[in-house]
Symmetry: C2
């Protein structure tokens, strides 16, 4: 059993995002960081995103040759981005005498459902990764991509490298999954918008999922879901220093912590309101089924009580999905599913998130009150167990985030 | 047998080089060309190189992160170049409503011996390509690369896309292999050096191999070797128009054709002369075995008759191999294989090529005579059945090529 010593050591999965590998200099910094950490007792799997500028260049080339670049060939094109960064980090580590190997999704057995541009990971055959780790190598893996049954390259959608990191951590039984990024951890609000935003030492998986789903850019919500299911702690931390960041999951959250952990926002969303929708079973199902088939991600659905057998359905989505929705609206009108549609693309969404929201009366009311006090009109409201979201005018968003954050995290007060 | 109609149609393999796919505009031109040709009765497999500038950028990134970027990770990095061009051409064709699919080396079963940076193709499993062709698709394949037994990406070395094209043409039993490039065909000399160089309608495989090996850039000699073995005619032609280029192989060469088909040259070569080499069996074997292990390609070996039990070995190589050779020279000296080494890097090689050279007396003498007449000193000479090569001073090369070409192809005279 020559592997026994190596294979006893715990595995750490580290994911570095696009800004952390954005240039040759940045990649050398990551190589420094890995070299410094190698004295520790863990075996290391590194997942990389593409350089942001590479992706931009590839998208721009695709737009030059095609009116609507999408599907299989677009995935094959974009997947080159991570292949470039993993090769470069492999070369950089090898140049320092560190044993390292760069693997593509195929080489490390990441199999997906084969849905181009938005694939989901079905399984990971970890044999090659484990054998490379057992040979004492740092294993560097392309994030964002997988391979279908037919050996076609499929990408996991925006932020997909987080999902790769989480899925590998789960499949390998890693001791933790580090999300190394350009912020120091998870904050009570976006620190670039709110100067006194607080960094949390620890939050729950559920809070991370809600925050990520409502606009916080720290990690992909599916990554948190996977780690929650497989009980892998996540550590969101800076790529550029060694300070502790924010731990997600992995043990109890302190009893005395705040009810609200974050004020999050989506600046660029559109609001679609379907008017005069027949109040019959199956209509909403038909509408959202059509949207799902068109690949439109809905961020929020609000259906108010109907009057005179006519309902009103409102939903919020990212601006990029406006075109497919406009196509569908024509259909729905023809088929009598609605008589009028109002599209607003100057709206924003602000949310408060916390696992005790439902059990702590009055938090939602405090949010509505301070918004009203600032003269910010709330267009619609949706709340769930762990989140209260308000749609407001996008030109008031910055002010709204600061005002709501100040209500729950007054300047000078420590949690 | 739903495939019967499709699978009866002959297969044409077209390879486009780096300058033909160097930008989005160029790729659109290739898409135009393919669209115009689709009315014809062949099934089409297109092999692409990387954009030249992409390769340059990748090499420069690799040099930023590593002192000596090479090996496995370098292949993984460079292989992204062709993945980009095949994806883009796929998108461009699909955008015109043409059924097309882009395949990587893995997806089209190109297996190599696993030697990184200089792999050789061992086998091609054509199942996927054939099934895509039978579905009526244009199949676009990444040139230059293959996959090892361990599923590692391996590249075929410089000019490797020609080899991919030839190997696919052989494996698929293609009716011909088109090498589409930025020149119109095979010429009696480089048209950019010799204004009255003649384009040949047809040359033999052997002539093509000798010309390619002695500096003509038209195609990789291994590509011609593969096509010769599998009896696939090659058509070297322009990417930018539809005129006939030069056919290689595929039937008899006209009886009355010229003895000399080309004057070729290598401008940037180095000459190494080992002096006082012991005249014992095994010494030359040892020297060239060491060179082969160091990955040094030798262009020419000249060993003159020995005197006083001491031989003199001269060899010619590309300038890029000077560093590994200098390392070896130290070794050889220590081990008494030689006592002195003269390295000259200001030399060039000029050759005449023709399949009737050996059977036509006086051709070599005519070459030596015109060089002497122009006052150009011949440093050494090597000749084979189909080629006479002379090493001369590099600053006289242009003049030498024009002078020798004028001797065999006088201005105004037609062959």
């Amino acid at each position: 059993m020559k592997e026994s010593v190596e294979s006893d050591r715990p595995i750490l999965v580290q994911k570095y995002g696009g800004s952390s590998v954005g240039s040759a200099e940045r990649i050398l910094l990551i190589a420094d960081r890995i070299e410094q950490n190698l004295c520790e007792t863990t075996r290391l799997v590194v997942v990389l995103s593409a350089m942001g500028k590479t992706t931009d260049e590839l998208v721009s080339l695709a737009n030059e040759v095609s009116d609507r670049p999408t599907g299989r060939e677009m995935d094959l094109l974009l997947a080159t981005g991570e292949q470039v960064t993993v090769s470069l980090l492999g070369l950089a580590l090898q140049n320092r005498g560190i044993l390292a190997i760069s693997l593509t999704a195929l080489q490390c057995g990441i199999r997906t459902d084969g849905v181009f541009n938005e694939a989901r990971i079905k399984s990971i055959d970890t044999a090659r990764i484990k054998s490379e780790l057992d040979s004492g190598r740092v294993v560097i893996v392309t994030g964002f991509q997988g391979i279908s049954e037919a050996n076609d390259v499929t990408t996991l959608g925006r932020g997909g490298s987080d999902i790769t990191g989480a899925a590998l951590a789960a499949a390998l039984g890693a001791e933790s999954c580090e999300i190394c990024t350009d912020v120091d951890g998870v904050f009570s609000a976006d620190p670039s918008r709110v100067s006194n935003a607080r960094q949390w030492p620890k939050i729950s998986y559920e809070e991370a999922i809600e925050m990520a789903s409502s606009g916080a850019k720290v990690l992909h919500p599916r990554a948190a879901e996977i780690c929650m299911e497989y009980e892998v702690p996540i550590h969101v931390r800076s790529s550029f220093h060694q300070e502790q960041g924010t731990w997600i999951g992995g043990g109890a959250i302190p009893m005395e912590r705040a009810e609200v952990v974050g004020v999050t926002s989506d600046a660029k969303v559109a609001k679609i309101t379907l008017l005069n929708v027949p109040d019959q079973p199956g209509v909403a199902a038909r509408v959202f089924d059509d949207l799902a088939r068109a690949g439109v991600n809905i961020r929020l659905i609000i259906q108010s009580a109907s009057s005179e057998n006519r309902a009103r359905i409102t939903f919020i989505l990212d601006l990029e999905f406006l075109t497919p929705v406009q196509d569908l609206v024509g259909h729905w009108e023809t088929e009598g599913l609605m008589s009028e549609c109002v599209i607003e693309n100057d709206v924003a969404k602000i949310s408060i998130v916390g696992s005790r929201l439902a059990s702590t009366p009055g938090l939602a009311a405090r949010m509505f009150t301070v918004l009203a006090g600032a003269g910010i009109n709330i267009d619609c409201i949706s709340s769930s167990e762990m989140k209260v979201a308000c749609v407001i005018s996008s030109d008031r968003l910055d002010e709204a985030v600061r005002t709501v954050h100040e209500e729950f995290f007054p300047v000078g007060e420590r949690v």
